[in-house]
Symmetry: C3
Subunit: 138 residues, 3 copies
């Protein structure tokens, strides 16, 4: 059995938003109790990550790390048509993920105790980000 | 239903090659219209990425970024038997992906408007790179 | 058909441990000969990687690379409650993977000749790390 759905999340600019509840709601609604759920993000300047969801300072530090690694306005980059945060956003996307598969058991994703699924917006401005959720199993 | 196929792509040395058409041809030929397609690369000095396919300067900037992060001949590295680009290729591979799952609907991969699947050769010399494509669904 | 199992591996502190044999044993035991196997790690301070398994100096160099990129005690980080290796471990996890899907054929994972699946412990101390293995196909 395969179930698929598209969802959209509007970001508020650079930063990460937990989407574990949205993914679990989809899995629950699918009627599939046992299998795998894939989250796929249809963008190349945002990404997905699995991250600690207990202390928000972890995600703040990840932002600081990425800002040091690929700073906005980095003179290395020539693709600057959409602004100084355009190419750094692509770099951050390539270094993280746009497709993550999660085991499903008992009608929900099996994650670690302090592990959450995040949509990570890498552009400075808010964007509408589209994801395809696919679950399969029995 | 599961369908699987191995394909080989000969690279021309370091750089990225779009393989979206090859993946979609496999999905179309499988007769599966709804599900997921996994692309798996059987190498550790090349990788897969999802990247913008509109402006080639994005991929040129990604090369420049990786060359700064893990330069060929970096004196940090001791694994140098295959040359100065050997260990940087492994680093680039570990920082990107070797396995990507893509949602399938209507007999093709659902990607963003400007999102393509790329095989990224990290070695300087051309190589034959093997991938296993697996699609499942109904 | 879907089969799922949880396994635990006790690490000896920072470093990578090959788990290809454990994953293949699970696939063999499932009776599934053709499909995909997903390995999912339920932690955010360790990760999974596909890496060359011929020369251990590759993995030693990867450690050195990560230690340069996100050094323990890096003054950039504010999340330091669990020690100087806490936040670097989250960074290493985000830059690699926590979920990898592998094609299965003939009752085993199809990997490249010198490609192994590794559990990568990023904390200095030993930890018990839990993974969910899911295989599906026919």
């Amino acid at each position: 059995m395969v179930r698929q759905e598209q969802i959209e999340i509007t970001t508020t600019g650079r930063g990460s938003i937990e989407i574990t509840a949205e993914v679990n709601a989809f899995v629950r609604g699918s009627g599939i109790s046992h299998g795998l759920c894939n989250v796929f993000l249809e963008h190349t300047s945002a990404s997905l990550m699995l991250c600690e969801n207990a202390d928000p300072s972890v995600r703040a530090d990840l932002e600081r790390f990425m800002a040091r690694l690929a700073p906005d306005g980095d003179r290395l980059f020539r693709h600057v048509t959409e602004g100084p945060d355009d190419m750094p956003a692509h770099v951050r996307s390539v270094l993280t993920q746009n497709s993550i598969s999660l085991p499903v058991s008992g009608g929900r994703c099996i994650l670690g105790t302090w592990q959450g699924i995040y949509l990570w917006e890498h552009r400075l401005q808010p964007h509408v980000r589209r994801m395809t959720l696919t679950v399969y199993g029995d």
